[in-house]
């Protein structure tokens, strides 16, 4: 390890880290916003369920490097545009979360839904104030997987040249120099652990009725 190098390059590293955070988190937020209605549709209808889950499953099979290359002509963007990475990761996040949201809504006990209906909750109101909150633990389990794997996948975009921690890996390979690679791996791991922890925390906040022992 060359600590002088870390000191000299700290400004660049911080910029790359911030880009990495943005590129991992933004797709999860957009992806969740898209996956909620899609997952609800899959949960509600038997016919569309296999169609929706099948299509998103197919999208998930496309390797990330291939998707980073295929998106620019489809979106009309330049190859270095960070938007490609955001869209690609949003696609993966949606593919992962649609199933989770659908499973989460399926996991709401029938008695709970019936009780809510009997108390006068209808349609959208029942979905937002009863079914979704009860499904939060299942959805946040999927969210944890999405966030953690996004942090890893973002770094692959370095092969195209997008700004984020992955550039430390390619830089290390070109210079035959281990320090940037180790710094990059450690920062990716720390970022994954922190974001994972945030999802766990959010889950606890949103489900105060779940006993503490279950959360742990």
């Amino acid at each position: 390890m060359n600590f002088d190098w870390i000191g000299r390059e700290s400004d660049t590293i911080v910029v790359l880290l911030l880009w990495h955070i943005a590129l991992s988190v933004i797709p999860v937020v957009i992806g969740l916003a898209i996956a909620l209605p899609l997952g609800w549709a899959a949960h509600r209808s038997g016919i569309f369920k296999s169609a929706i889950l099948g299509t998103t499953g197919l999208l998930y099979t496309v390797p990330s490097l291939a998707l980073f290359v295929l998106l620019p002509p489809i979106l009309g963007t330049k190859i270095l545009d960070p938007a490609n990475v955001v869209v690609a990761l949003t696609v993966y996040t949606v593919a992962l979360l649609v199933r989770t949201v659908s499973d989460g809504l399926d996991s709401v006990p029938v008695e709970t839904v019936q009780a809510a209906t009997a108390m006068g909750y209808r349609g959208f109101q029942r979905l937002v104030s009863v079914e979704l909150p009860v499904a939060v633990p299942v959805i946040s389990a999927g969210l944890r997987v999405a966030v953690v794997s996004n942090v890893s996948v973002v770094s692959i975009a370095a092969l195209i040249g997008t700004q984020q921690l992955g550039l430390l890996f390619t830089q290390g390979a070109q210079l035959q120099f281990l320090t940037p690679i180790i710094v990059g791996i450690v920062l990716c791991l720390v970022l994954a652990i922190v974001l994972d922890g945030l999802v766990v925390l959010l889950n606890k906040r949103l489900t105060p009725w779940v006993p503490k022992a279950v959360h742990a």
Binding site: A66, L67, I185
Partner: protein
């Protein structure tokens, strides 16, 4: 892109498209085989005995967070000086591919065995099956759908990461993308990307098909079409005996 594909020059020589596809499949096959030899026995052992559960969850989560690109480059820089030949690039890449393929295979094997209906296992024990026979005649067949879905996840991961490993001179379809990027040859990159995506889809479909034939019809509630069909119509509801075996 079509021009690139129909140009005969891209179909001959050591970096012909056909050769790259075969290389990609060979790397994927080797990595999956080694990963299965490691992951399946551990998953079976932990699932059957219930020992070491904490290990499985911890390893799987930690490996998901590891950036694959960084890991491949790190291993090449560390291991490459040890090997003189071309193995210097192949061995580190294969190690990473195996490392990524083991967790999904291991965790799904474990989860599959755990999810087998306890009454089916009890029945087998009651019929005098020895532990190993319970494992291979009851638990493994019942767990097969989950075990196969673990292989599916592992295969996708390996095909995807083998593409990335082209950056450290591994062969395979990733070559087209990486070399194309270096030479600003966008057509070549597109061909590589489309072929990798197609390869992943086809292999995924293939594993799905294997599952259809390998998984016992008692589990999938698939109707058996036998040559000697009884003249009386079969009951459409599954018999209690077969539904008891279905994992929830």
């Amino acid at each position: 892109m079509i021009d690139y594909l129909i140009d005969p020059a891209h179909w001959t020589g050591s970096d012909a498209i056909g050769v790259l596809i075969v290389q990609h499949l060979v790397y994927t096959g080797i990595a999956l085989l080694v990963a299965a030899l490691i992951g399946v026995p551990i998953g079976l052992y932990v699932g059957h005995t219930g020992k070491g559960t904490f290990l499985i969850a911890g390893v799987a989560n930690a490996l998901r967070a590891l950036p694959t690109l960084g890991l491949v480059i790190l291993l090449v820089l560390i291991i490459a000086p040890v090997f003189a030949s071309e193995l210097a690039f192949v061995v580190p890449s294969l190690i990473v591919l195996v490392l990524l393929a083991v967790p999904p295979i291991m965790t799904n094997t474990y989860a599959g065995i755990r999810a087998v209906d306890a009454s089916a296992v009890d029945a087998a024990v009651g019929m005098g099956y020895r532990p190993l026979k319970v494992l291979f005649a009851v638990q493994v067949p019942c767990a097969l759908p989950l075990i196969l879905s673990g292989f599916r996840g592992a295969t996708l991961q390996v095909i995807s990461t083998a593409t990335i490993a082209a950056y450290v001179s591994l062969g395979g379809l990733g070559r087209l993308i990486i070399d194309g990027r270096a030479q600003n040859d966008y057509d070549q990159m597109m061909v590589g990307a489309v072929l990798v995506a197609l390869l992943a889809l086809l292999v995924d479909l293939g594993i799905g098909l294997i599952g259809r034939f390998a998984v016992s019809p008692g589990l999938t509630r698939r109707r058996i079409r036998s040559a000697t069909r009884p003249t009386t119509p079969r009951p459409t509801t599954p018999s209690p005996a077969s539904s008891a075996l279905v994992a929830p």
